[in-house]
Amino acid sequence: MSAPFDLSRIAALAASPMGQWLGFTAVLDGDGAVYRLSFSEEHIGNPMIRALHGGVIAAFLETAMRADLTARLETTAAVSVVNMAIDYLASSRAEDMQGRVRLLRLGRRVAFLEATGWQQAENAPVAVGRACLRIA
């Protein structure tokens, strides 16, 4: 079921209203990709703090995991999220966030993935998310 990583498969996801709102993009990096949330004022959570909204960070990492799985599948199967959990490790800033996804297990019907998001440096993560995705 796994195929060579192909970013062209995520075009629809990036072009969706939510993908556009997140400013979601991806670039190839090694045998995977680095995903990007392009900062917009609408992504701010608390205007007093001017940090990214926690839900926006979660939505970005979730989108990155869907994109990553889609890019790895050899079929055009639909991918949806069963559930996701996120830990916020550090304060975020009002700026872009990048993310990288690790495929933990690819089954026939579900897959388990982990995504890490950072801003200043990859070794200083802001949030880590894990999700179970349905392949149908």
Partner: protein, 162 residues
Amino acid sequence: MTESPPADNSPEINPAIRAMMRAARDMLRHEHSLLGSLGLKPLLLGAGKTSFSLALPERFGDGSGNVDSGFLTVVLDSLFGLTVFTAMKEFKPIATINLRADYLREAACGTLAVCDCICEGIRNEIAYVSGRLTVESDKSLIAIGSGAFMVGTRGPSKGSRL
């Protein structure tokens, strides 16, 4: 012998928190671009309990006519935070520690939904919240979630939220 009125044991929101909630409601409606764009309408603001209605917006669609599951996380995180405020005895800044969401069904953009949240308790400066997002018309579950929040954070910081 006079009869005293029955004791009112219903939980009351601290006046300072109530004022803050009103400010938050106004912010939701008018000032904050993200929260304002969610189209949230308060149905209930009680001590440790909130309920909001919203029409799932097309601008957060997944490209197939349904709302993106990531949008549901934005809603849950926003309303969990507000619910924590209603349970506090005095205002303190909070920060999300973690969040979990289970997506039970897809929901078309435009669907009228209701999000009910409960702050289950605050202990050792950690607030525990849970909530459910349902379709208004038939009460079917769209998503359930839970989260933990640090209470009494130092506000704007350069590093740790905790």
